[in-house]
Each structure stands twice: as C-alpha cells, then as structure tokens.
Amino acid sequence: MNDVNQKMPIMESQERTFGAPILEIKNITMRFGGVVAIQDISFDILQGEVRAIIGPNGAGKSSMLNVINGFYHPQEGEIWFGGEKRSPMKPYQIAYQGIARTFQNIALFRGMSTLDNIMTGRFTHMKTGVLSQVIWRGAAEKEEYENREIVEKVIDFLDIQTIRKTEVGKLPYGLQKRVELGRALAAEPKLLLLDEPMAGMNVEEKEDMSRFILDVNDEFGTTVALIEHDMGVVMDIADRVVVMDYGKKIGDDTPENILKNQDVIDAYLGVAHD
C-alpha cells in the first residue's frame, strides 16, 4: 500500500501551521428516540485547516454537521466556537456567527436565479431594515450594489458567469453544487461546512472543486470541514481526518495515519488492491 493516488497531488507538501481551535466538539450525544446517531464524540477543528469527516453511510456524519449548524440540538455535550461555549441557538443565529454550509441533497432556492441564490448568501452582511428598503434610496441601494459586487467576484471565482440568470432548478447537478458552494462562500464564513461537495462528479469536476476549496482556504484563511467519500480527494486536500462509524469516532489523525489505522480499514476502507 504505497500511494493511494497515482496522479499529481494537488497540494504541495509544505509546513501548514494552524491557529487555535475554531470549533470544539465535546462529548456530543445525539439521539432520535431510540436511535443514537452520535455517541459521545469529541474532536476539534483548528483555525485555517481543512478537516475531513469520513465514514460509511449512516455513520452520523450529516447529523454531526446538523449539530454544528444548529438544526439538531444534542442531548449531551458542549460545542465551543471561537473559544467560547455556545448556548443553544437557532440555525439563523449560527449563520450570523460565521458558519456557512452546503447540503448533501442540495438546498438551493429552486425558483430563483443563480445570482439571487448567491445574493441570499450575503444576507448576514446586509444591515438595512425593511423600511429603508421600501424607500430604496440611499442606504439600501448602496448596500445592494456593494454586496452585488462581492457576489460577482464569487461568480467569477467559480466560473459560473454563463448561468448567472438561469433558474437553478433547471441546472445540471454539478452546476447546482457549484452554485450552492458559491452561496456559502458569499457569506464570507469563518467556518465552511461542506456535505459531500463532490458527490456525483467526474475526475475533472472533482479537481475543479478541490481547487476552489483550497483557494478559499489559502486566500481567505477559511476553515473548512467537509464530509467526503473519495479517499483520493481526502488524501489530497485534508489536513486531518475524523472517522465515524455507527455514531462513534474510530479515528482522528492525519490522512496518512488514518490509512494505516486497522479499525478504520475494517470498518470503511477495506483491503487495498494493487
């Protein structure tokens, strides 16, 4: 088992330094009636790193993201964000804290255009109230233009200019995923949660997506947590990996070491073929 991927690694090996933990999961347990989706899991995500969460289907990975995002409230455990313990909050308040995400089954606003969808990503940055928007002059108009500029930059970055005005419901799956990434990026989050961002993509599209994620991490220092099934991608872009299985954590290490972890191999990776 020498080298899992034979192609050129996207990232050059270099010393990557990270800051203090931006997110700390402490002894989280999440139950739905009799089903224990997450059992006493703890891990952290350091500022500036790319953290992968992997594991077989049904392991509780998406539930973990939903807990971080505020859609699920764990029965036990604590979540610390930016060094402070987080009290139970609604998802929209967590968005204001600086966490943005994409969804496994794509949760775009289907009736709206690409441009409008990505503009909604700027919601937490737009401060004008309802009344000034009805009157429109001055503050609201200025804000709209400023944010529109940022959205156009995101559209350029993701190379989706040709579909700016298309209703996203009509777009092919791969482009929808890209638009959803754009909406999350537009929020300029401190922590970006990606739920299987490469699902259903071919090699070229995966390379594009990986490039986008790395650029965002590199240029803006955005911390990224992503759920991913493609081990090649994980090896290429992740700094550290958390492995989940049946709601429990069975591995928490760098990608290279995870590949050698017997528990992980038994549960998820299987035996490598040469």
Binding site: P91, F103, F109, R110, F123, W136, G169
Partner: protein, 322 residues
C-alpha cells in the same frame, strides 16, 4: 360588431375593470401570505374588516370594548373627539403590524412544522376569533367610512363622454396599481424581497443563510395586514363598514384561481379579468338567462380554469430537473 360603437360598452368595460381592481386588492393579501409561507389565509377578509373597523374606531373616537365595559356599568362609547384621518390611518397601520406579530407568536410559531392543511384550519379559527374580537371591540353596527376620497361620478368624464364612472373606484384603482407595482419591485429587487422568496422556497436553506423565519412571517403578515387595511377602506368607503365585508374574500378566490396563488401581478390580471368578464357577461348574456349572473359568473370561470389550467395564468410552474 356594432356594440363597439355603443359608448355604453366602454362604460361597462371601464366599470368592470375598476371593479376587478377592487377584487385584486383583496386577492393581493392572500398571495403575499401564500407566497411566503404556503398558507392559505382564510382570515384575510376578516382582516380587512377588522382593519376598517379599527380605522373608523380611531376616526370617530370610539372606546374599544365599550359594549363589554357597559356590562360593568361603564356606559360611555366615545371619547368625545376622534383622530384626524391621517393619524387614524397611521394608528390603524400600527395596530395591523402589532396584530401580525401576535398572529406569528400565537398561531404560527407553535405550528411551525405542521402540514399545510393544519395551518389552513388555524386560519379558519383565526377568522372567527378576529370577527368576534372586532365585534366586541368596535360593535357590529354598520358604520360609514370617509377617508376624504372623492365620491360620486366624475363630472369631467360625464361631461366629455357621457359615461358614469365613480371617482371612488378610480382612486381605488390607482392605489391598487401603486401597491402592486411597489410590492412586485420589492419582491424582486430588495434583500427582504429575496428573503421572502427564499423562505417560500426552502425553510432549511433560508435558516442556514441567516434568515429568521419568524421575522419574515411577521413582515409578510404585516404587509398583508396593510393591504387588508387598504382593501377594507376602499370597500368600506363604497358600501359602509359592515360585517358582510369579510365576504369580499370569497370573491378573491376566483381571482386567485385565474392569476395563480403566488403571483403578485397575477392578482391584478386575474382581478381585471374577473371584473371585466362579470360585467360584460351580466350585461350581454344575462338578460337571456334570467339575469343576476354576477353572483356566479366568477366561480364558473374559476371552475373552468381549475379544469384546464389549475396553476392559473401566472402561478409558479413546478421546476424540477429529473
């Protein structure tokens, strides 16, 4: 085609169009709430009634719940002086916005993830509650409403073209058109308008982007309440503020069938078509079949639409990529 030369034809057309705008005004309230929260608001007509009652109450200086208080020996019904019309309108706006907040807290929040049919039933309950509260607060007697809008036939038009067109209906049409334009622009081009459309589309995604569902619902019900106030004022000025005012909501249903439940411009077009169709049908075909067709023509038209184009002319097409 000799009827095109008959000036009376044009009078009917214009009268029908103006009536249609009045229908559209009511339908608009439904569209806003349905667009943003997927709820068919059965209490929209009662909201219009309540708004009009509140306005008259402020204008004439009524003491709210006077009838209730009289049971305790307190027999005064009026303060002695009312507020000037503009202030009364302003206060009524505040009342509708406050009412919207109460509705969100008491009715919508507890029922957040329930089926649409349950929310619909909740609005039925809301309609009865509001009707009762309106009666208790302001009394059930017919009240005259005068907000200073011009009344009577437009002399200018009467002199030049021999057509009898009510000035009140012209004012209502102007106000309704302004409202529709403002609301359409608001929905399409502002941050809050986007947020409204987002909430209508996908609750989870809207939450993850930072949009508070409660705030959006409050805004939508407030705007619907304001639209209800305008509708109540227009209809109330025309035929007095009485409890049958809430029945204008029934006329809005055919408008929604035609225009679609989620389209703001559709409400106007649907209203115009119903208004125009009603008057023309009544005048030209009515005499042949016994008259009084205005009562049912709109529903017959709506039935036809239900059979052949259920989403209406402008309703949202279901966009899905298989």
């Amino acid at each position: 085609m000799f009827f095109l030369l008959d000036p009376f034809f044009y009078e009917i057309v214009i009268s029908g169009l103006l009536a249609g705008v009045m229908y559209a005004l009511v339908a608009l309230g439904f569209v806003l709430i349905f667009k943003a929260s997927g709820i068919f608001n059965f209490s929209q007509g009662v909201l219009a009634l309540f708004a009009a009652l509140t306005l008259v109450g402020f204008q004439t200086g009524q003491i709210p719940f006077a009838h209730l208080l009289s049971l305790f020996g307190f027999h005064v019904t009026h303060w002695g002086a009312g507020f000037p019309t503009v202030i009364a309108i302003l206060f009524s706006l505040f009342v509708m916005i406050g009412l919207a907040w109460l509705i969100v807290q008491i009715v919508l929040k507890p029922l957040v993830n329930q089926e649409g049919i349950i929310l619909f039933m909740a609005t039925i309950g809301l309609a009865y509650v509001l009707e009762g509260v309106g009666d208790l607060m302001w009394g059930a007697n017919v009240k005259m409403l005068d907000v200073g809008l011009p009344k009577g036939p437009s002399e200018f038009i009467l002199d030049t073209t021999d057509m009898f067109i009510d000035k009140l209906e012209i004012s209502a049409a102007v106000v309704a058109i302004i409202l529709v334009v403002v609301l359409t622009l608001f929905s399409a081009y502002t941050k809050m308008g986007r947020a409204l459309r987002a909430v209508a589309d996908d609750h989870q995604a809207a939450l993850s982007v930072g949009i508070s569902l409660e705030t959006i619902w409050w805004i939508v019900w407030s705007v619907s309440g304001i639209v209800a106030l305008v509708a109540g004022v227009m209809w109330g000025a025309k035929s007095g503020v009485q409890f049958s005012l809430s029945l204008i909501a029934l006329k809005a249903l055919p408008v929604l069938m035609l225009g679609g439940f989620t389209s703001i411009p559709g409400a106007i077009i649907g209203g115009l078509m119903i208004g125009l169709g009603e008057k023309l049908f009544e005048f030209y075909i009515g005499p042949m079949i016994g008259g009084a067709t205005e009562n049912w023509f709109a529903y017959m038209l709506a039935l036809l639409f239900l059979l052949f184009r259920p989403q209406g002319l402008f309703g949202e097409k279901i966009i899905e990529r298989v």
